[in-house]
Subunit: 192 residues, 2 copies
């Protein structure tokens, strides 16, 4: 089991057919995940394509994560919590500045993704909207969005099965709103 | 007034401060719009950033369209219809193949965007999730999505004000589901 310390991130490769288990070890924590085709990094995870093909805002067990080229990247095999978000971009320095009036340095999923993905020649501008595991974004009939504390309990996990060779970026979220104000680690494991 | 013929597209530059009026001349037609910073095309319209900063799924008058670098690209000054979509990727050949079982050639917003944007050195992989003007995507509390006929009537329009120099890609949508099965033109005008 690999540990992503609070407010940090990781990036790694997994092969087609391998499974990725992402665990919330303490509960109420979020993990932003981005995916790239390991053989051509211009192909990457797409919120717009996934919501279109799955015909649902809420992506969970039985669904696929699709790429900008309309290929399947991951299948969700298990999801013990069942609530994830695929609407909102990873928190970035501007998130804290524009939305919370915080002009000081603040760690962010965006920074933690691009610094870890740099070793795969992926640049900040290449980071797409992430699949936000365990993130609890509620929407009202008028479209109003709110970022609520995650519903995940200690030990909740999601298992993904890779549909192609992938580069994965993964974080332990840095935003107060996403995890009820307490920063926590995320664990992950690659299973054969 | 410029005319985008049915199932086709256009791409053009507009300058900061200019306004873009997009008109549905016959009613019940959709126009997919993508935006790029004219001075650095790696900066582009972002659904994830826009939904995050505007805290709403439904983007309309008074809202801004934001970039992947957290900058404002457009302000929506007027929106006589009031329903647009920013969840779904532009229809592509794979949309018709995967969702509708159509293996024959079918025009698509994706093709009409990248062929028109090619003159600005923008490639297919650079096309992000578009802001889908007049598109009527309904969502249920369980997240289920449906693409319903647009609510727009003949003459409805949206006026955007550019917040930076932009390259704009714009279509008259090619998908049966987006426009109630009838393909129609889209009109647009650049106003000082």
């Amino acid at each position: 089991m690999n540990i992503i310390e609070k407010q940090s991130g990781a990036a790694f490769k997994i092969q087609k057919g391998q499974r990725l288990k992402v665990v919330d070890p303490k509960g109420e924590q979020v993990s932003d995940m981005v995916l790239f085709n390991a053989k051509d990094k211009r192909e990457k995870i797409s919120s717009g394509k996934t919501l279109d093909f799955e015909e649902n805002i809420l992506i969970t067990k039985g669904d696929f994560l699709w790429s900008n080229r309309s290929n399947k990247m991951m299948e969700i095999l298990e999801d013990t919590n069942g609530r994830n978000d695929f609407l909102l971009a990873p928190c970035s320095p501007e998130t804290f500045k524009i939305m919370y009036g915080n002009n000081d340095y603040h760690p962010s999923c965006f920074e933690n993704l691009y610094t870890n993905l740099k070793k795969f020649d992926i640049e900040p501008d290449d980071i797409p909207t992430a699949f936000n595991i365990f993130m609890n974004v509620q929407f009202q009939p008028d479209g109003k969005l709110s970022v609520d504390p995650p519903l995940s309990k200690a030990g909740d996990y999601v298992i993904f099965k890779a549909q192609m060779d992938l580069v994965v970026g993964l974080t332990a979220c840095s935003a107060e709103d996403s995890n009820g104000g307490s920063f926590k680690p995320i664990h992950y494991e690659i299973l054969e």
